[in-house]
């Protein structure tokens, strides 16, 4: 077939149009790239990064907690955390049943854990398990390819002393709760973070917490790690040195066994807390692994409430220890002096009611010194009556009761200083004059915490210098860039005669055949005051109505030397049969303090870092000479 040599001019227009069509097509395509690569390039760059960059936290170790001689109280030990990538939630949800089986975790519990991360912190890893058991780690390692969305991260697990040693003061860490995330001081925390939940761990969380680092890992489309992109190293938390002396704490811990109560030892010259314990205790290590429901309910339903820090939270009637405060108040107010005497026949009638003394046959005629040494109730009934409840309350508050001492521990209680105004406000009831008589010997509605008693009596013996109790040296707080809670001390003006008389009386209680004779240490200028109280608090009485276990509380507050003491120890035993143990325990602590002072040079010569125990426990009785 021959092809005619046709003119192609007929198609000229159409071909020109076709060229314009070509231009249109390429402009159209170029516009697509303009849109994606220029206008929306940041958006797609972010998506690309999210695709292939996985962020793994490098948990910062929390600072250790040390005693005053830099001996380690709370340490860290490495453990594994199991994390899931936020971007792989879908995959994770599908894998949950298999994962629950492999890890040996209840599926519902696992789902609940993942659920917690729904609301907050997009693109942060989901914490599946803190402190994974070796079996769980092994499972994950051997099933890597089945769960590409999961990662194992080495974290530092908190290691607390065993047997609940100093548990209440140290506190514990746990996963930050939803509600805590709203607190300003925890604003930077993410769900799954471990934060201090109680005690020092909570109070100084910001100091010991540190800042987690981040490792950015490149992953491929299957979610498998390809390379480490970069790494921001973690900033470890600061070690925190406490004012606590491990030796004194040890003596207190060993002296207190299964009983219920509390011990506070502090240095009234500075307010440094040397020992602080509450019983019964608990094991803070239970919390670091995520406390099981079973253990938690055991702790919270125990009627002795092991989680209560009795040294700052038990609000109990001080009993006769209050006589020190009332005596001081009466001397200061001028309603009594060295020559004031009352006759004690073993009881007396006030406002139509008979109030008996603790000794039925009476103390006879006694002055203030004798009344304190013998703890004569009738003398103080009279003292209280002449002073009056208004002034008694005023002085109690001035001497540190009815308000928080301001110790650097969370949830301190303030106790109650009753007065007509207080009763009217709280109960809308009139004050009965007879109540004044009860309050005079530290009963009735008057309640204090063990810390308050040590603080108050220490302040009186220190001539009105009330140093705020604290567990962390203010230099340590300042060095960590934190504000020191002000004020460091409160000065209450007390007359010289008052302080002299009261401290002599305290000495007499221990050394002149008084009620505190068991606290005597030959060669040491020890003073103190015993107390026994029937009633805890109005609330406790109400809640314990009909309970047969409600028994007397035994108190002893000891100090040495009697003027400007270096150490004040308040001991509380809840449960009358142990009340007599209070004075000997205070004695052991005071004795250990002075024994250590004598051998302070050889002791400090040891490497301060070593966690070695110095000689502790009951010290030979007559080493004081």
């Amino acid at each position: 077939m021959e092809f005619a040599q046709k003119e192609t001019r007929f198609a000229e227009n159409r071909l020109t149009l076709l060229q314009w069509g070509v231009v249109a097509v390429f402009l159209f395509l170029a516009s697509g790239f303009w849109r994606l690569q220029i206008l929306q390039s940041n958006y797609y760059t972010r998506l690309a990064e999210r695709n292939h960059i996985k962020q793994l936290p490098i948990p910062a170790p929390r600072g250790r907690i040390l005693d005053r001689h830099a001996r380690v109280l709370v340490d860290n030990s490495p453990s594994f955390s199991i994390l899931a990538q936020w971007g792989e939630k879908k995959k994770l949800q599908e894998h949950l049943p298999a994962l629950a089986e492999g890890l040996g975790i209840d599926l519902a519990e696992l789902q609940q854990q993942v659920e917690k991360f729904k609301r907050r912190a997009p693109y942060q890893p989901i914490v599946i398990r803190e402190n994974a058991a070796w079996r769980q780690v092994a499972f994950l390692e051997s099933h890597r390819s089945e769960f590409p969305e999961l990662d194992l991260v080495v974290a530092q697990r908190r290691l607390y002393p065993s047997q609940g040693f100093a548990a209440h003061l140290l506190g514990y860490v746990g996963e930050v709760s939803e509600s805590d995330l709203d607190l300003p001081e925890l604003a930077l925390s993410q769900p799954g973070d471990l934060v201090g939940k109680a005690g020092i761990e909570r109070q100084y969380n910001a100091v010991v917490q540190g800042e987690d680092g981040v490792r950015r890992v490149v992953v491929d489309s299957r979610g498998l790690d390809v390379a480490v992109l970069d790494e921001k190293p973690p900033r470890p938390g600061r070690d925190l040195r406490l004012t606590i002396d491990e030796d004194l704490q040890q003596v207190a811990e060993e002296g207190f066994r299964e009983e219920v109560g509390a011990v506070v030892a502090l240095d009234p010259r500075t307010g440094e807390v040397l020992a602080l314990l509450s019983r019964p205790t608990f094991d803070p290590n239970l919390f670091t692994t995520g406390i099981s429901r079973e253990n938690w309910s055991k702790l919270t339903t125990d009627q002795d409430n092991p989680l209560l820090n009795r040294s700052i939270q038990a609000q109990l009637a001080p009993g006769s220890v209050h006589k020190i405060l009332l005596g001081t108040a009466a001397l200061e107010a001028g309603t009594a002096d060295a020559n004031t005497t009352y006759y004690c026949p073993g009881g007396a009638v006030f406002y139509g009611r008979y109030f008996q003394c603790w000794i039925k046959h009476g103390h006879g005629r006694v002055n203030l010194h004798q009344a304190i040494v013998q703890s004569c109730d009738v003398f103080f009934y009279n003292l209280g009556k002449t002073l009056g409840i208004e002034r008694m309350a005023e002085y109690s508050v001035r001497l540190g009761l009815g308000q928080k001492t301001g110790i650097d521990l969370p949830n301190e209680e303030s106790g109650t200083v009753p007065s007509p105004a207080w009763k009217e406000r709280v109960f809308r009831q009139k004050w009965y004059p007879g109540e004044t008589i009860s309050v005079s010997i530290g009963q009735g509605a008057l309640t204090v915490t063990p810390l308050q008693l040590a603080y108050s009596i220490g302040g009186i013996a220190s001539e009105g210098f009330f140093a705020r109790p604290h567990l962390v040296f203010s230099e340590e707080v300042k060095a960590a860039g934190r504000k020191v809670a002000a004020p460091a001390a409160v000065r209450v003006s007390l007359q010289e005669e008052t302080v002299a008389m009261i401290s002599d009386a305290l000495y007499g209680v221990v050394n002149e055949g008084g009620t505190g004779g068991r606290a005597r240490i030959p060669g040491l200028d020890v003073g103190g005051k015993t107390g026994t109280a029937q009633v805890a608090s109005v609330q406790m009485v109400r809640s314990a109505k009909g309970a047969t276990h409600l028994r007397d509380n035994g108190w002893f507050v000891g100090l040495a030397p009697r003027r400007n003491p270096e150490i004040v120890v308040a001991v509380l035993y809840q449960g009358g049969e142990h009340g007599a143990l209070a004075a000997p325990l205070a004695r052991d602590i005071i004795k250990t303090y002075f024994d250590k002072k004598k051998e302070v040079q050889p002791h400090l010569a040891q490497t301060p870092e070593s966690n070695q125990q110095a000689t502790v426990g009951p010290v030979p009785a007559d080493s004081g000479g």
């Binding site: 077939m1 070509v22 849109r35 690569q37 220029i38 760059t45 990064e49 695709n51 992953v219 390809v226």
Partner: protein
Amino acid sequence: MGKNISLRDFDWLLLGILLVVATLGIVQIYSATEGTRFAGAHLRQIYWVLMGLALAFFVSLYDYRSLLNYAPWLYLAVLILLVATLVTGAEISGARRWLRIGGINFQISEVTKLAIILLLARFFSGPQEGKLSWADLGKVAVAVGLPAVLIAWQPDLGTALTLVPMVLVMLFVAGLKLRYFALMLLVGMVSLPIAWQHLKPYQKERIGTFLEPEQDPQRAGYQVLQSKIAVGSGQLWGKGTAQGTQTQLRFLPVPHTDFIFAAYAEEHGFFGVLLGLLLYFAAAIRLVQNAQMAPDAAGMFLIAGIAGVWMFQVFVNVGMVVGYLPVTGIPLPLMSYGGSSAMVAFLAVGLVNSVRVRRFVN
């Protein structure tokens, strides 16, 4: 036959442009397959390009007019091969697209385009002289429809569909009145719902995904999304050869074949894309110019058809990469890895030059 023709008249510019495109493709194939099970694909692509070059020169020496004589026979042969593909072809992921001859897999559908172009070039340069009747249109429809149905049957709807615009371009150049195009558009719209009934599930899914990409980000929508991420994150300058995270970490699907331009855009950025698009644009314009210079109508139609196929493939593939068009399995000419596609492209270059070198003859 080759007495008065000279290689000096060969379209060196067009060839140069296409070789640059092929080189960009080879580099990108290397970048996208290094360290994967496709490693070494770039070497095979080099062989094919070299073979293609030889083929182009060889074909250009051959007079297209004698080829047009054989056009009906070629067409018939292609139809038979398409049927053979359907019957004996190697089944790969549910589709029979490859015919195995002498140990080599051929994609007959690629050659089909050229056979149809030849057939139509011969037909349009016939006696009707720019005035097409309804009967002519019907003949064209049957001529294109038969192989289109056979290809769609494989199933390879994308390739089947490329036949349609190719024919439309030729009809356009042949001077078909614009109202006829309007009518065809109408018929197409009406027949769409009927065609939908006969689509395979994955085809429906692809189109559904195109209309609503967010609906299923895990499957078909995933490809589109990852392609857009690759392109967008390339920004102005790109991430560098073999540095594209979407490409290298396998987020981008088939980065060496259908989505090669996304991989290219990621690693070379907007400027790289402009260069690439300009090359394709220049090639297309150059093709149309060659059509304008053709010594006869048949040659002009031949080149116009080739230009149509070229433009449409670039349009559909790159449009898919930027998310403008649904996902189809249409490769990007000369960049996507694939022997059949490369060979056919160079075969077309040969045909174009076969016309070109004879423009002063006679």
